[in-house]
């Protein structure tokens, strides 16, 4: 290192607001222990985290909420898109009485889904921003959204009408599939990983994601979360750079040009493949 670099580094070092050695007393202060105890009392990946996630995530008194409906290839996608437009336009809902508290009830629009049961947080995490995967039973079927924030606004990516063709759902007419989803993770720019999510039939004990880069990732499986009437499981995974996600210069994840997940494999508890569903091509 040159003398000039030494000098610059020395100046920067001494300009530090605070030095680590000045913090030593904090290592044994009550805050350190309290934080540790609070964290280890929390659930971790794959568990139902509704207790803390909802309280931390919501911004009380926030201005208009806006949902952005992403690339969700489910039958109700057109309806979801119409819903998003209605939300953006902020058309007041007329004659609608909301009896069930849900994040959806913050959205304004005549075509918006009306929650018929409280939100259920399937998973949550912090990947640059706090995020949650929230399932809500509505008059338009099961809505499943990835929620996070961008520029202080709540942003949702997802849709409604899930699980209409999933085994285990008594309302499913055809009992066609064991799994649904896994393709439309989308990139919510404030996150630094791609979140993938979907629904699985009750008999699914393990979900694997075959990636377009050749790798395979085991998804987290949330079995029969409390609050979801239908006997459904949910899966999710967070994909980072190792799985092919690209980060932007500011550390957020880029919207993938191509899907990261090629196929979703559902297995039963014995490891038998129940279904392998290619998801990087439109279907359904």
């Amino acid at each position: 290192m040159s003398d000039r670099n030494d000098l610059l580094e020395d100046l920067v070092r001494r300009s530090a607001r605070i030095r680590d050695e000045e913090l030593i007393t904090l290592a044994t202060a009550p805050g350190a222990k309290a934080l540790f105890d609070d964290i280890v009392s929390m659930p971790y990946a794959g568990t139902d985290t509704r207790v803390h996630a909802t309280s931390e995530f919501r911004r009380v008194g926030a201005d208009r909420r806006r949902a952005r409906i992403g690339r969700r290839r489910v039958p109700k996608v057109a309806l979801a898109a119409a819903f998003a437009l209605a939300v953006v336009l902020s058309v007041p809902a007329l004659g609608v009485v909301q009896h069930v508290r849900s994040w959806l009830s913050d959205l304004k629009g005549p075509d918006g889904p009306i929650a018929t049961a409280p939100d259920v947080v399937i998973a949550s995490g912090v990947d640059g921003q706090p995020w949650e995967i929230v399932a809500t039973q509505t008059d338009q079927g099961l809505c499943l959204f990835l929620l996070t924030q961008r520029s202080g606004e709540r942003v949702g990516l997802g849709g409604c009408g899930w699980a209409s063709d999933i085994r285990g759902d008594p309302s499913a007419p055809g009992h066609l599939h064991w799994i649904e989803g896994g393709n439309g993770s989308g990139g919510v720019l404030t996150l630094n990983r791609i979140i993938v999510w979907g629904v699985a039939g009750e008999g699914v004990a393990r979900v694997e994601l075959q990636l377009t880069n050749g790798g395979t990732v085991r998804a987290h499986l949330v079995e029969r979360p409390e609050g979801i009437e239908a006997p459904l499981n949910f899966f999710w995974a967070a994909l980072g750079t190792q799985e092919g996600a690209e980060l932007s210069e500011n550390g957020g994840v880029r919207e993938p040009q191509q899907p990261l997940v090629h196929a979703v494999i559902a297995r039963d508890s014995a490891g038998n493949v129940l279904e392998r569903r290619v998801v990087d091509e439109p279907h359904g």
Partner: protein, 195 residues
């Protein structure tokens, strides 16, 4: 990893890196409250993604990376306070009241010059000078190669030197030790900045 192993591993990570991450956040956050939140959320992320955490010192680099992204977001928008960090906020505010040092005029100029740099430049300079990381370690935090980190650092130093020159703060070989800061001399032309 069973629950006991998980807790034990997290305890080691927390114990080994708590002060480093706290220092990292305090040196960069706009407020000590933000710093407390960043520390809390960084370790919460570590707890939730414990299986992803690399071993030993690599864990510190992983944590720096998480804290860096958290801070970037804190700088961009108003956030609700994490309820996890309540007690920590109190500890920090008491400490900062006690230890807030008087900064010399010359160092104020350095702080000002750093503040005029782009975030990326300031971050890489801090990772080396404040966190004491090598080029390879900086590369891991910033998700780039050691060589790219070296080049970025070189450019950041050039831009800082240019700012200091504009501020009439001499950056001259051989004057780095034994005094509280650079010596003020008449201004010289600023160095050309990399774009």
């Amino acid at each position: 990893m069973d629950e006991a192993d998980r807790q034990e591993r997290f305890q080691h990570i927390y114990k080994d890196h708590y002060l480093r991450i706290l220092g990292y956040a305090l040196r960069r956050a706009h407020s000590s409250d933000d710093a407390a939140d960043v520390v809390a959320e960084t370790f919460l992320t570590a707890w939730r993604r414990l299986d992803d955490l690399p071993p030993d010192n690599e864990a510190a680099l992983w944590l720096y990376g998480v804290a860096r992204r958290m801070l970037a977001n804190y700088h961009r928008e108003e956030r609700r306070r994490s309820r996890l960090a309540g007690r920590l906020r109190q500890d920090i505010s008491q400490l900062v009241e006690v230890t807030q040092p008087a900064v010399s005029e010359d160092l104020e100029a350095v702080v000002e010059a750093l503040g005029q740099l782009r975030d990326k430049d300031r971050e890489i300079l801090g990772l080396v000078a404040w966190e004491g990381l090598s080029h390879a370690e900086v590369g891991k935090v910033l998700d780039c190669s050691p060589n790219a980190a070296k080049i970025r650092l070189h450019r950041a130093r050039r831009r800082l030197a240019a700012r200091l020159a504009k501020a009439s703060l001499l950056v001259k070989p051989g004057e780095a030790t034994g005094h509280t800061g650079g010596r003020r001399v008449p201004a010289r032309p600023a160095m050309e900045e990399d774009q």
